[in-house]
Symmetry: C2
Subunit: 336 residues, 2 copies
């Protein structure tokens, strides 16, 4: 893997102060849960210096200010707001999906209980709005409206994902629509929020959103590929983790929609209560044989290409465009 | 009981169209839960024509536009936003408090499951922001910021209320602070949001907020009194319901802080697993003997007086001031 893009190094330092100041407004009970979830404190509330997340969304927010020739700091409220919204969604998703670990630590609801975790998520969402509306200038109301719409789409994606668990057939279009909400909506908003805050003419935020939309799908495709064929040493997740949890991810849905005997066998195995390690490996092989892996790899590549094209038509300083593409390559693992 | 104030009759008709249009933006899965929770549909999603809530917050929002000499319709986005925020908080509170009924129906989480109910609450909160920011004029950003702060305070109140369940002593000030967040914050916002949307000078929203703050405490005091001494035929709740659930409501906390043998006996009985109907009646008598009932009645009266005084100093058309006071009398049961 080559070097981390410039925009991803140092973004934590730029954003962390404002993020901590925002979360510091919460009441002590809610703060405790939020600070743990954000990785700042341990279960007892003592400061902790573990590795922080890569702050992808804040990095994109700061870059999008530079796309509008504004100083990156002008997008700080936007960077904080998208990170708070991302944190809210993970906090609630862990409760809904009964996920007991998050970034190698027990998830917040397992430590503080569901009520406190629900409440902390609510607080982070409200705080995102509060912080963003404090940004100076007319752009802040527009940016907050865009964030609220992105949040509604994110929720719709999560709702669709949960609904998928209750039914038989899922079309590939439906699965892409789910990912467009659950993964891409907030990335679209992150990619454009700095330009919106700066009051840039509509064409620029629109191009940046379009970039974020395709980037989001590519990002999820790569994540889904790693969830099946990723090396546990690199991903930090157990091998075949998405097969283990019977996740209806994009490569699986693509394979099922290709039909044939492989699809029938996948459906059969996914329906069983207990799968041996051999069964898991068989499912992965079946998905590959049914074309799910090749489709996902090609589609990720094509989405990254399309994402790049959106930036060509937009009037963005060349170094900023190059940096957006470096981030895209980095998060989709194309830089090694 | 005398007639319902003019501002509370017909408010449903005024607000319902805009409220339904807003909720109609949600994805079908989330819509189903929200529409059930709002009383529009039954468990199967069929339209339902049961009694709707009294729409207190929307009524106050519309009145607050009239306080600024603006047409009530100008506060429609504010009325919708405070009602959505109220609905969000009830939806999540029911999950957190394990309340299985809401307005004589099974609460949403018992029908659709916790994940769907969490998600629907999130969606209503995001939708409140989206709708309010669509209001024309500069006031909408200020109003949305006020709503976000009110939501943070509401959450802090709920967090404090949950924390009360885990500890011994609660001071009366702490209990009032909890109610200021959990009950009063959104009422404050409702009382001022129409004036804020209209761009009224700060003094007017400030006076209306102060009115709402005292009204909110009075409202909760009356609710707490009914939770212990209310007639089930009028309240629709079982007799002594707050004693049954060991609620640390204002009259109870006042009684406990007065000390003496009654306080010790209340603490003893509240700590037991099973209380007979005789025990429940004894607790109610002890709260009264320790002065909890008299304090709450006097304090409610004094808060309503203070609320009224805030409106005297503000420049509000006389009929609107009178109507605010009628609503206050109505919701605190002083009009019979």
């Amino acid at each position: 893997m080559t070097a981390v893009p410039i925009s991803l190094t140092g973004v934590r330092e730029l954003v962390d102060g404002a993020l901590r100041a925002a979360v510091g407004r919460l009441d002590p009970c809610t703060y405790r849960v939020a600070a743990y979830h954000l990785g700042w404190t341990d279960e007892e509330g003592h400061p902790r210096t573990g590795p922080a997340g890569k702050a992808l969304r804040p990095a994109l927010a700061l870059l999008s200010a530079r796309a509008a020739c504004a100083p990156p700091e002008s997008a700080l409220p936007g960077a904080v707001a998208v990170e708070l919204t991302h944190a809210f969604s993970l906090l609630h998703d862990d409760i809904m999906d009964r996920d007991r670990t998050r970034r190698h630590r027990p998830s917040a609801w397992t430590i503080f209980g569901e009520p406190a975790a629900i409440l902390a998520g609510d607080a982070l969402l409200a705080l995102a709005v509060e912080v963003l509306l404090e940004a100076p200038g007319q752009g802040s109301a527009r940016a907050t409206r865009a964030l609220a719409v992105a949040t509604r789409r994110l929720i719709a994606g999560q709702a669709l994902d949960m609904e998928f668990e209750t039914r038989g057939h899922i079309s590939l279009d439906e699965c892409v629509a789910m990912v467009s909400g659950k993964t891409a909506a907030l990335l679209e908003c992150s990619c454009s929020i700095g330009a919106v805050l700066d009051g840039a003419p509509d064409a620029l935020p629109a191009a940046l959103e379009a970039f974020g939309a395709d980037l989001g799908i590519a990002f999820q495709l790569v994540d889904d590929l790693l969830g099946i064929w990723g090396d546990p040493a690199t991903t930090g997740k157990p091998a075949l983790s998405d097969v283990r949890s019977r996740k209806m991810s994009l490569p699986v849905v693509a394979a099922l929609n290709n039909g044939g005997p492989e699809a029938d066998r996948i459906t059969d195995l996914y329906g069983r209560d207990d799968l041996s390690e051999d069964d898991l490996r068989e499912v992965a092989a079946l998905i590959e044989a049914a074309g799910g892996r090749a489709w996902a790899e090609l589609e990720a590549e094509s989405r990254i290409q399309r994402a790049a094209e959106h930036l060509v038509t937009a009037r963005i300083p060349e170094p900023v465009r190059a940096e957006f593409l470096r981030v895209a390559d980095f998060v989709t693992g194309r830089d090694h």
